[in-house]
Every structure is written in structure tokens, then in C-alpha cells.
Amino acid sequence: MTHLVFFNYVQGSGYLTNEGPHIAYLTHLPQAGDAVSMGGARLWNVLAVDCYATSPEQSASIYIAHVSREAELPRSAWFWNQSAPQRPVDLKLCIADGLLLSSGILLSESGQPIAGTLLPEYNVESHTISSRPWGIARVEVMAPSDVAKPYYRNVYLARCVSVPESQTETFAVAQTV
């Protein structure tokens, strides 16, 4: 049996350009104290692993491995707990089998994934947005199952399928900051 694990920072800055969140299907769950690469030539520490499930009875679940460069960091010092403790933070993951297509956080309801829509893509060089050839087939909303102080209120897991016949359109957006 494998578990879907999402590795993500609890820091709001300090990561390198070649480092990013990622998913893995693991037979053994990571534990606090483990070291993991986030894509660069340095290790990050697993601070905690939280479980999210669609319901307490269902086995479909995802594990969030919270990582930091610090060996120990209390939850109160994690980025969103410290910077905006009054704002509920949801996690949005768009995956297709072993691919992490997109990840991010939601601070309002307007970004919730909707089944039947294509994923948007932001093009860094041209500052445009377009459609991606990936569509959301279904969305699972997961709540923390065994965590006293969860970092994310909910996890929106959007399961995607390839839509190669879709055509992309681009539209210029705002400048960079």
C-alpha cells in the first residue's frame, strides 16, 4: 500500500529557485526529524506529518509533510500561523496520477477548483495566462483527521485528466512585483 504525501514549506521565504513542493507515493510515511530534498542540493527537515481525509470513515487520504530549514519550529511560528493567524488557509492540489500539476493556497472561496474546467497557467516570461491541456475530473475536499492544530483548514484535491485536444488562449495580465 502506498500513501500520497505532499511535501511543502512552512516558511514564507528562503527557498531557492530550483526548490519546490512535490508529491510522492510512499510505502512508509515520513516522520518528524526526517531530511528531504525539495529539489536543490540541500536538505530540509520534516517538522510534522498531518493526515487529511474526505471523512473519518474513508481511507482515501493525503499526508502533508511540513518541512523547514529549521530543525525545530513550533506551529505558532509557521508562516501563515504567524503572518495571518486570523485567516483560514486552505491547500489546493491539482494532480494527475504521479504528477503534481499545480499547488497553492486559498485565502478565499474564489479559487476553489471546479470539476469540468481546464487548469489555468501563468507564463512567467510573457506575463500572460492561458489554459493548460489538463482538466479537473473531480474534486475531493479533505479535512484534518488527527491534528490538534492543523496548518491548513481543508485540502482541495483536484484529480485531473489530460485534455490534449484543448487549445490554449493567452491574455496579458499585470506586471510583476
Binding site: 508562516f79 485565502l107 478565499s108 489555468p120 495580465v173 499585470a174
Partner: protein, 77 residues
């Protein structure tokens, strides 16, 4: 499968270097009196770009394609 339609997107997108910068950007925009809020942060794939995230703003004053910031290139022209 419905396409993502940029013409129907009412939210405002800005590239930023990290999550911390997104919050600072929100403070800056609100300080200008704009009625909008940080709605979503999308992490971009790890690349050589310094822009690692996209900050997406929602609210009455959010507008896709708005020109809120003058780049250094524009200032020199």
C-alpha cells in the same frame, strides 16, 4: 471540458518572489485605498525564474491586466 477563459477572469494576477512578498503586496495595494484582498497564491514550477508564485487578488477593485506598477524600463523611456 470548459476552457479556462481569461476574458471571464475578474481576479487580478501578479507574479511575486515568495509568499511573504504576496502579503506585502496586499498591504501595498490596500494602502492605496483599493478594495481587494489576497485570494490565492499559486506556486509556479521550480525554474530559474526568481518569480516563484503568483498572487491572485479578488474584490471590487481587482482587475485583470491593470497597470498598477511602472517598471524600471518604462520609467527610463
Amino acid at each position: 471540458m470548459a476552457k479556462f477563459d481569461p476574458l471571464k477572469e475578474t481576479r487580478e494576477w501578479h507574479a511575486a518572489v515568495d509568499d511573504d512578498a504576496c502579503l506585502n503586496l496586499e498591504k501595498s495595494l490596500k494602502a492605496q485605498g483599493l478594495k481587494l484582498w489576497l485570494a490565492e497564491i499559486v506556486t509556479l514550477p521550480a525554474t530559474s525564474s526568481v518569480f516563484r508564485v503568483v498572487a491572485i487578488f479578488d474584490g471590487p477593485d481587482a482587475a485583470l491586466g491593470t497597470q498598477r506598477f511602472q517598471s524600471l524600463g518604462n520609467n527610463n523611456s
